[in-house]
């Protein structure tokens, strides 16, 4: 089973079964497919790196930061009664796997991946979608988008898990939502269809967002409706950084950043370049294969 975990070409054993052309139940293959999928889900959950993207910080400023921390701890944002805004100001946000958290007005050309486990000593919570998509003035997570702010807040609380338990919850979620959990890492230019789970918890998330959500509502959430978000209350140390993803023309600059970090702390920061002139969409497309390579070699 562990050797099958890494086979990206075999969509577990469902394909193998289909290729036999035999439509009756094959208990042994079915059982093996389930075992492989569960093993793969738990492996992904335990090892999934976390991404900070898009960067609203320049490469050279990253090297000056003592740590990656919430806007409020950096002296930004005033007290607010808006619970969603307060959540945003009080946390540093990272996401599990693909760097899909970019809006059309997010501008930048670098993303930072942190190794799995960097969140262990932190405090906060995680949930299987983008909490910002529930925030006023224009929430887009359907069907909650049209509901009042109390309902949206309550839904977020119900779906959130404490940070200490999130990897276990993520593994269970992957097993429950995908026949092949590796699909979670699919990235193409189709943000509304990528990584579409076979089912979601609750089912309304899948039915009302992504490709089918566009048909139903027009405005809805893309794959962020099924991509895990982590909200870290404490600063994340730079030494946890793992991979810097950037546009190819920034290699010299990125290397300077890597060297500056290494001089101060025991950082192992790998560099990976995306095509020259890459847009945030191409970063997103590249991030799936990047994470797969990091996980499976």
């Amino acid at each position: 089973v562990p050797s099958l975990r890494k086979q990206s070409c075999v969509t577990t054993l469902h394909d193998l079964r289909a290729s036999t052309g035999y439509d009756q139940a094959v208990p042994l293959l079915d059982e093996l497919a389930t075992t492989v999928a569960t093993d793969r889900a738990m492996f992904l959950a335990e090892n999934m790196p976390l991404v900070h993207f898009p960067s609203s910080t320049r490469l050279q400023d990253w090297s000056l930061w003592p740590a990656f921390s919430s806007p409020r701890s950096r002296g930004q944002g005033e007290e607010t009664l808006d619970r969603f805004e307060d959540l945003r100001l009080a946390h540093f946000f990272v996401y599990a796997g693909p760097c899909c958290f970019a809006q059309p007005d997010h501008i930048g050309d670098a993303a930072l991946y942190f190794r799995a486990g960097c969140e262990q000593t932190n405090e906060g919570a995680a949930c299987p979608f983008d909490s910002g998509s529930l925030q006023d003035p224009k929430p887009r997570l359907q069907p909650w988008a049209s509901r009042d702010v109390d309902s949206r807040w309550q839904f977020l609380q119900e779906m959130s898990v404490p940070l200490g338990r999130w990897r276990n919850a993520f593994g269970q979620w992957l097993t429950a939502c995908y026949a092949d959990p590796l699909k979670y890492l699919d990235t193409s230019l189709d943000r509304y269809g990528d990584g579409l789970p076979d089912s979601t918890i609750p089912p309304e998330l899948r039915a009302n967002n992504g490709t089918s959500g566009q048909l139903l509502h027009g405005r809805c959430s893309d794959r962020r409706a099924w991509t895990w978000e982590l909200r870290l209350a404490l600063p994340l140390a730079r030494r946890e950084a793992s991979v810097l993803l950037f546009a190819a023309h920034l290699y010299e600059e990125a290397n300077k950043y890597r060297l500056a970090l290494r001089a101060e702390e025991s950082v192992v920061l790998h560099l990976r370049a995306v095509r020259e002139g890459a847009s945030p969409d191409e970063f997103y497309v590249e991030s799936g294969p990047l994470v797969k390579r990091r996980l499976f070699g």
Binding site: P54, S55, S56, T57, R58, L59, Q60, Q103, P104, D105, H106, I107, G108, D109, A110, K138, L189, Q214, G218, R219, A247, A248, H249, L250, Y251, E252, E253, N255, K256, R258, H270, L271, R272, A273, E276, G277, A278, S279, P280, D281, E282
Partner: protein, 270 residues
């Protein structure tokens, strides 16, 4: 209400109602030449990204921002302002900086055949160092980086010249064994248009003690065939050895040829 909008593409590639108002990413003289992803703005003040083409051949799908921005508002995130210019799918956003400006006369000489007048005009503008160009799609940013929203042909013509001069400067730096080898190698790595040039730049980085040379090699080489990659690197090493120590390289080459000759003349084993 969806965040997707359709816009018409004219025959010359212009996108109806869309402007280029900036470029994505960090600007630096150590990051040129480079192509940048353009920042698009709609006529009602929203930022837009191209989500795809179709369903008709003359339609482009744009994903637009929820928020509206004033024309002179700072760009959200990391980017730079240029233009505004009419968005055109046949154009690319090229940045050039200090290295290119220092070598501007060599670049003009390196242009092959009959250069496009616009390329010559850009190089003249680059040389004169004036802040703005009256008519053409050129801008100089506060960092001193020059940005040209040029056609793909213009880009290719200029980039070929830059790649050629970057290679020449790199080989000069290698020959003189000066401290500028690393800088020249980085410039060549950005200017390179083919794998031979990338391999040469990477060999220079290795000789200059840049420990990420293998990452650069892995990321920038276009060919994915392992044997081709190895052979390009070996060839670049021979080329550089020839430049740095021609006599030794010639002797080594003779030895290789002798070895290969004796290998060929040896009878094949049964």
């Amino acid at each position: 209400v969806s965040d997707l909008r359709a816009a018409r593409i004219f025959d010359d590639g212009r996108i109806e109602g869309i402007l280029v108002v900036g470029g994505h990413g960090h600007l630096s003289h150590r990051a040129t030449p480079s192509l940048r992803s353009p920042v698009y703005r709609t006529s009602d003040g929203r930022f837009a990204r191209i989500a795809g083409l179709g369903p008709e051949p003359d339609i482009v799908q744009l994903r637009v921002s929820d928020d509206v921005y004033a024309p002179d508002a700072p760009l959200p995130g990391i980017g730079f302002r240029v233009g505004p210019w009419p968005a055109n799918l046949n154009r690319v956003l090229l940045t050039v900086g200090e290295e290119e400006r220092t070598n501007v006369s060599s670049l003009a000489e390196a242009l092959k055949g009959t250069p496009q007048p616009t390329v010559l005009e850009f190089l003249r503008w680059l040389e004169q160092g004036s802040a703005e160009s009256s008519a053409a799609l050129f801008n100089r940013t506060p960092e001193g980086i020059c940005v040209w929203y040029c056609s793909k042909d213009e880009h290719l013509e200029l980039r070929r010249a830059i790649a050629k001069i970057a290679r020449t400067r790199f080989l000069e730096a290698a020959e003189s064994r000066g401290g500028s080898l690393e800088r020249a190698a980085w410039w060549l790595s950005r200017a390179a248009l083919d794998d031979d040039a990338v391999a040469l730049a990477v060999t220079g980085l290795r000789l200059a003690g840049v420990d990420v040379w293998q990452d650069v090699f892995a990321d920038l080489m276009k060919t994915t065939v392992g044997s081709e990659r190895t052979s390009k690197l070996a060839s670049a090493e021979r080329k550089l050895a020839g430049v740095r120590d021609p006599l030794r390289a010639a002797r080594s080459g003779e030895r290789d040829r002798e070895a290969s000759k004796s290998q060929k003349s040896r009878p094949k084993a049964a």
